[in-house]
């Protein structure tokens, strides 16, 4: 009698357990068939590994594009988060799986910096192939509304005269504010007291509470506070101003020397192991390309403050190269990295032109 009741509870629990573990190993035993026929791809679930945690921008974008890609591919995508070590854990996991197109990496800009920061050996350009770069966002330099600095020049002038006195909130090694303030330090000869926080949310909180003097936020994260009058955005890191924050001048207005680094900013993309067979890559790229054309998805990107890119192949690789060389050399020039990007054959930005 008692056992019967318990059995009943177990019955209720089992489906829950199964759904929760659904993201398990589905990496294939498919290697037997050799290399000839990929036309049936996908024959099993595809694992989508998100390299950041639940609720972040990468997570939101990945989870919204996934069902659309499923429709195009005619197979299912099982999404899971493997966060940690600035996303390096997820990247390493995908790299370690067979290159059969059944494990995809949904990542952000971070792997571009792993090598120079010594976080991991993995790197987008040498270890993965881009399936699609979904979109790019922009960054802006913000201070709180009651701050005495009304323009970027004010802020820079003060910090050049009083090096180390202004506190700049960052989101840790290789994060957006870290690279951006390195950019400012390299070009404009300033020095900030950098204090790392855990991402955009805590940074916005710290700025609201007056704990830090300035920070660099994704425009999407800052925009609401600018509208409500809590923050002032002193500049957007772009060569023209953005619709989302029309009052904020582009950084090239006071400082044209930033032109060569642009476009630069955080991005989200989908990647496969570098040895993934070409036919599978083709199928993936076309499916992801078609999926992103969905109107509702475009709207979602817009809400998230992401500019749709939807690029793949050579174009995507060029984009990655440009982004990597800007960020890594920037960090190197300000002494933030011990290893030179040269060691990894990353060319300097200037040399490209």
């Amino acid at each position: 009698m008692k056992l019967k009741k318990f059995g009943y509870t177990l019955c209720v629990l089992t489906p829950l357990l199964l759904t929760a573990c659904g993201g398990g190993d589905s990496s294939g035993s498919d290697n037997t068939s050799g290399e000839e026929d990929y036309s049936n791809y996908p024959e099993q679930d595809i694992n989508g590994v998100i390299q950041w945690g639940e609720g972040g921008a990468t997570d939101n974008i990945s989870r919204t594009v996934a069902p659309l890609v499923e429709d195009e591919l005619g197979g299912s995508l099982v999404m899971e988060n493997r966060e940690g070590a600035s996303g390096a854990t997820g990247a390493q996991y995908v790299y370690d799986q067979p290159a059969d197109g059944y494990t995809l990496l949904f990542g952000a800009e971070n792997p571009n910096l792993y090598q120079v920061l010594g976080i991991s050996e993995r790197d987008y350009l040498s270890d993965f192939k881009p399936v699609s770069i979904i979109g790019q966002s922009y960054a802006g330099i913000v201070v709180s509304a009651d701050s005495e600095y009304d323009s970027l020049e004010d802020l820079i002038n003060y910090s050049s005269e009083n090096p180390g006195e202004l506190t700049m909130g960052t989101s840790g090694e290789g994060g957006l504010p870290h690279v951006a303030s390195s950019m400012l330090q390299a070009e404009l000869d300033t020095e900030f007291n950098q204090v790392p926080y855990n991402g955009d949310g805590p940074l916005a909180t710290a700025l609201l509470g007056g704990e830090i003097d300035a920070t660099v936020l994704a425009v999407s994260a800052a925009q609401e506070y600018v509208e409500s009058g809590d923050f002032k955005m002193l500049a957007v890191i772009n060569d023209e101003s953005l619709d989302a924050v029309p009052e904020a001048p582009p950084i090239t207005e006071p400082y044209p020397e930033f032109e060569k680094y642009l476009p630069w900013g955080p991005f989200q993309g989908v990647f496969a192991h570098k040895d993934t067979p070409e036919p599978i890559m083709d199928k993936l790229t076309t499916s992801f390309e078609a999926a992103q054309e969905d109107e509702e998805f475009q709207e979602t990107l817009d809400n998230l403050g992401v500019e749709p890119m939807n690029i793949h192949g050579e174009e995507a690789i060029e984009f990655l190269e440009q982004n990597q060389s800007t960020s890594t050399w920037m960090l190197h020039d300000t002494g933030e990295t011990e290893v030179s990007p040269e060691e990894f054959d990353i060319p300097r930005v200037e040399e490209e032109e």
């Binding site: 976080i119 180390g164 609401e224």
Partner: protein, 503 residues
């Protein structure tokens, strides 16, 4: 009038009503299984509800949130394995209660006071959200440091027997908590070049191993002894006087819970620990000593962690800042459904705010109903023979550890903690301080360093502890708690009470 209408939307719309109910019920079961986290469940719902309207999606997610936080205490009470980090404190007195045959009573009491805590959380959310939000953003890194230090003083309450062993366990926990990539400097600590270790050690594997697996190993020792089977006492319904008796305590810890929950850097797990500590310090004559099945010891953490949900929603809805990991996913949901979470949210979509308040009330009502209904099913777990129960728990701990990150590494950690926990039990070390150290260690580490870096000068840094009102209060609380443990204080106190009596 508008507000009332919006508030009542979830009550009158059958569809929403059903979704909140289903969410709460599913949440209770997900929460009750260790390792299946509320965060994970809500994240799954995010893609599941992508094509839905916004209100139904949020109603379902809120239901799972409330149900999940509550459900964690079921496993903590019944099998001494906290289903979620915020129910660790519930196991301290919850499991002794069920060993004494009072599982039913413990389950019922925690259900009622979870409801009380949850409702207070919602009430504060509805009436004082802007005030609490401005308090929450005034809370600086220095204050987080002090709060975590206050939490660390709990070792005193948790280490049964030898204090030195408690401090040793907590120290070990802090060191284990530091393993991995340092989020401030970016360097690796104790990783020996391994990427798995770079990730850090998830403290949930420690909870599963130290509470779950080690308990199984420990009980194996006495498996063949013909001990008396735990009998169930009939009384599962608490007498009415209980409710009035514990109401003041639950009110106090609920207010603390809301405030801690509203802090963007602290959530239910810290709220429940602080609530437990508060109960232990303020209850003069508990029915039983704490740690041996005091009712106050299960009521306080449960009221505290459920009220923390209302608290966590406050910065989300007023400032667009997540109060914890689950509310971070809510931010994603709002974005996806076309809203901009931020300080303008209340003005631009006030209806959403009141709909969330309404759904929260509803989720609490369902939590009370389902919580009480399933008590009779859940309490039978205690009567299952160990030969059957222990293997089931063992399987659940393994699945739970694997499900955390879909990684075998976590399973190995869990098994390792199980073996360590077994020897700790054999040699009379309490395992709770170790978990406490793992939870609080990283917070102490990062908040202290951030506070120091922001001050940028030792003098300014130290002055901050006295200059800022919040810091001053926390500093005084810390010093007083330490002082109250000393003999001088006991001596002074006795002298004063004697004098008062003479007069």
């Amino acid at each position: 009038m508008d507000i009332l209408q919006q508030l009542l939307i979830p009550f009158t719309d059958l569809n929403l009503l059903f979704l909140v109910a289903a969410g709460t019920l599913a949440g209770i079961f997900i929460g009750a299984i260790p390792g299946l986290s509320v965060t994970m469940a809500v994240a799954l719902l995010l893609s599941l509800t992508y094509s839905w309207e916004m209100l139904p999606a949020l109603a379902l997610m809120l239901g799972v949130y409330y149900g999940g936080v509550f459900g964690g205490s079921r496993a903590a009470i019944l099998v001494n394995m906290p289903g979620s980090p915020s129910s660790v404190a519930t196991s301290f007195d919850g499991f002794p209660l069920s060993q004494k045959g009072e599982a039913g009573l413990a389950l019922t009491l925690t259900t009622i006071f979870s409801f009380v805590g949850g409702i207070i959380g919602v009430a504060v959310l509805a009436t004082a959200a802007p005030i609490v939000a401005s308090f929450a953003i005034e809370f600086t890194q220095r204050d987080y440091f002090l709060l975590a230090m206050l939490g660390l003083l709990l070792i005193g309450s948790l280490s049964q027997g030898s204090m030195a062993k408690g401090i040793f366990a907590a120290g070990a926990g802090i060191i284990l908590g530091l393993v991995g990539m340092d989020s401030i400097g970016g360097g690796s600590r104790f990783t020996f070049g391994s990427l798995q270790l770079m990730n850090g050690i998830d403290f949930i594997t420690a909870i599963l191993g130290l509470f779950g697996m080690s308990e199984i190993l420990y009980q194996l020792k006495s498996l063949n002894e013909k001990g008396e089977r735990t009998s169930l006492k009939k009384m599962a319904i608490p007498p009415l006087r209980f409710i009035f008796k514990f109401l003041p305590l639950s009110l106090r810890v609920s207010i603390m819970g809301v405030l801690i929950g509203a802090l963007p850097g602290a959530g239910g797990e810290i709220a429940s620990l602080i609530a437990y500590d508060h109960a232990k310090r303020t209850t003069k004559k508990p029915d039983r000593p704490f740690g041996e099945g005091a009712y106050e010891g299960v009521i306080a953490p449960e009221a505290g962690n459920n009220s923390a949900i209302g608290g966590a929603l406050i910065p989300l809805l007023t400032l667009g800042i997540p109060g914890d990991a689950v509310t971070a996913i809510f931010i994603g949901a709002l974005f996806i459904h076309g809203l901009q979470p931020g300080p303008m949210l209340m003005e631009q979509s006030g209806d959403l705010f009141w709909m969330m308040v309404g759904s929260s009330v509803l989720a609490n009502v369902f939590l009370l109903i389902f919580g009480l209904l399933v008590v009779t099913i859940f309490m039978r777990v205690v009567t299952i023979p160990k030969q059957i129960l222990l293997p089931i728990i063992a399987v659940i701990t393994v699945i739970g550890a694997y499900a955390l990150n879909n990684s075998m590494t976590d399973v190995y950690w869990m098994l390792g903690f199980g073996i360590v926990g077994f020897f700790m039990k054999v040699h009379h070390f309490s395992v709770a301080p170790l978990v406490l150290g793992m939870i609080l260690g990283p917070l102490i580490d990062t908040s202290f360093r951030r506070a120091y870096m922001t001050a940028n000068d030792p003098g300014v840094f130290l002055a901050g502890f006295i200059n800022s009102p919040i810091s001053l209060i926390l500093t005084l609380a810390f010093v007083f708690t330490l002082f109250s443990q000393t003999k001088t204080y006991q001596h002074l106190k006795n002298n004063i009470t004697k004098k008062v009596k003479k007069q």
